[in-house]
């Protein structure tokens, strides 16, 4: 048998096939591993994002809370959630003109007002909130009743509750529905008092985060006004 010039021998073909198989197997292993790493990273990001969201939102909401603002239970916190405030530049009885700054405009349907004066802090219902020309565009807030002492500063708040249910942190305003703030990734969650303020314990759900090992996450939300939480 005479070989054609330039043709490969069987041995060469076997060697090439074997090498090609090795390369493909390596590539397949790399791709598989890459997938696993990517999935792990995705799970980690989902979890960290949920933990971070809880820490940031709860931390901001309870940081300036006072004894009268908070009711703590194992699976919920009911609180005055501050949405804005400002100095009173002019006032007449129930009508206050406020240089308002906040995360949103006051909404009489769901907001109330804490009025700060020399004599102390008093809560009032809010009847209306409209723009006015006073004090260079102050907000005109009409309270349900006339404060005994003209307030110098007001804080606008809504009453809400942060609830741990269905594996997620949820916010519920008044008696309204529960809006999830995080992905439902947790098997167990619990609020507890801490020396600095509030502790939130979150145990990841192994069904939701199968690829991610790890224990319970703890978030500490300091309370500057240090209410004696029960």
């Amino acid at each position: 048998v005479t070989a054609r010039p330039g043709a490969a021998s069987v041995a060469e073909l076997v060697l090439v096939a074997w090498l090609f198989g090795c390369v493909l197997a390596g590539v397949a292993r790399v791709v598989t591993h890459q997938n696993r790493v990517a999935a792990l990273q995705t799970d980690r990001i989902r979890l960290e994002e949920a933990v971070r969201t809880g820490a940031i939102i709860l931390g901001a909401e309870v940081r300036h809370a006072d004894t009268a603002d908070l009711r703590l239970a194992r699976d919920s916190i009911r609180l005055r959630a501050f949405r804005g405030g400002g100095g009173v530049c002019a006032g007449d009885g129930r009508v206050l003109r406020v240089l308002y700054r906040g995360m949103r405009q006051p909404d009489p349907a769901k907001d109330s007002v804490l009025a700060v004066a020399d004599g102390g802090v008093v809560a009032f219902g809010l009847v209306s909130a409209t723009r006015s020309a006073a004090c260079g565009g102050a907000l005109e807030l009409v309270l349900e009743s006339e404060p005994e002492e003209p307030p110098a500063w007001v804080l606008v708040f809504e009453t809400g509750a942060y609830v741990l249910a269905g594996g997620a942190i949820r916010y519920r305003r008044g008696q309204g529905g529960r809006q999830p703030l995080t992905e439902a990734l947790f098997r167990e969650m619990e609020f507890a008092p801490a020396p600095e303020g509030l502790r939130l314990l979150m145990a990841p759900d192994p069904d939701s985060l199968r690829r991610l090992p790890g224990g319970t996450r703890e978030v500490i939300a300091p309370i500057l006004n240090r209410p004696p939480l029960q």
Binding site: Q34, A38, I45, H64, D66, A68, G85, A117, D118, A152
Partner: protein, 339 residues
């Protein structure tokens, strides 16, 4: 040269590009997570800085600096209470102030705000409307009480203010008017200014009991001639004057003192000279040539052989004594959110 066709190079290039894309994707996600974490850390650091600046400002508070602010007026705090932080103080009411600090400039920067209360010396002095003031009764057996002691914008006062005033024939009274038979006003003090806090703020703490001679309160370091109002001519007085607190009954038999003397109990002064304000929660007895320049207030006051001369500036100065010059945390809410 022969042409040899193959696909190994192309395949390896394709695989390399695919791997690079996958790796780059993961790197981008990881980098974004790092950026988010860094932003969170930076925000927390800014928040801590702003809160530290507020705490520093409150700790360094002096009513002599912020007391002159008008209600509604804002003043920037000179310098930086913490590195890279601006701070300012707004007077919200007679005793209420808002302390704010922001890390960096512009809206959205980490910021902190706290409500603090401070004694208003003028308002506090208004709760001492006479040379001798009592919540229930004053017995003036002998001696002299004068309410003529105007100073700056503070006018002359009554000699005696109490619901019940009994003046013996030998006693002398002068004032504008001499006697006001009425309940004196309460002190407009913050609710947080409790007995334990007062004890802590005092610069001199004396044990209850009997003192044969008034001890040197150690005021050599204080500045002299620092009046608190126009017309305050008491050049020998020091600033800040001592705040002397006694947590029980006290009897002093001789000596000289100045400042604010607060006795949580009965007080008997014999042959003692005091410049400032004497306060006792129980009975105050002035005897044996005791002289008070300023004012005295107690539940009941008995003047036997003493001279009390009202001095509006000495009274006002006394409310700047020791730690009373500082800021107090309100009873409940202190920190407030800032948007």
């Amino acid at each position: 040269m022969k042409c040899r066709s193959g696909f190994a190079l192309v395949l390896s290039l394709v695989l390399t590009v695919a791997m690079a894309v996958l790796g780059a994707g993961m790197l981008v996600v990881a980098a974004r997570e790092t950026e988010i974490a860094a932003a969170v850390v930076q925000g927390r650091r800014g928040q801590a800085l702003a809160e530290t600046a507020v705490r520093v400002l409150v700790a360094d508070w002096s009513t002599r600096v912020y007391g002159p602010l008008a209600v509604g007026e804002t003043t920037a705090v000179p310098g930086e209470p913490a590195a890279g932080v601006r701070a300012w103080v707004t007077r919200l009411g007679t005793t209420l102030f808002l302390v704010e600090a922001a890390a960096g400039a512009g809206v959205g920067q980490p910021a902190a705000a706290a409500l603090v209360r401070a004694l208003d010396a003028a308002a506090m002095a208004a709760a001492v409307p006479g040379a001798v003031v009592a919540d229930s009764a004053v017995w003036l057996h002998a001696g002299m009480v004068s309410g003529l002691g105007s100073c700056g914008d503070a006018p002359d006062a009554a000699a005696v203010v109490a619901p019940l005033v009994d003046v013996a024939p030998g006693a002398e009274l002068e004032g504008a008017p001499a006697v006001v038979a009425a309940l004196p006003p309460d002190f407009p003090a913050p609710e947080a200014l409790t007995e334990p806090l007062l004890s802590r703020l005092a610069t001199v703490r004396l044990p209850p009991g009997e003192l044969a001679d008034w001890p040197d309160p150690g005021t050599g370091a204080c500045a002299t001639g620092a009046g608190v109002a126009a017309g305050d001519s008491t050049g020998s007085a020091c600033w800040p004057p001592p705040f002397i607190h006694v947590p029980g009954d006290l009897q002093v038999r001789s000596g000289e003192g100045q400042g604010l003397l607060l006795v949580a109990g009965d007080l008997q002064l014999l042959g003692f000279r005091f410049e400032g304000l004497v306060l006792a929660t129980g009975r105050l007895a002035l005897d044996s040539g005791t002289v008070i320049v300023g004012a005295a207030r107690a539940a009941t006051v008995e003047v036997r052989d003493a001279r009390v001369t009202f001095d509006a500036c000495a009274v006002r100065r006394a409310f700047g004594a020791g730690g009373l010059d500082g800021a107090f945390r309100p009873g409940h809410r202190w920190w407030i959110p800032r948007f």
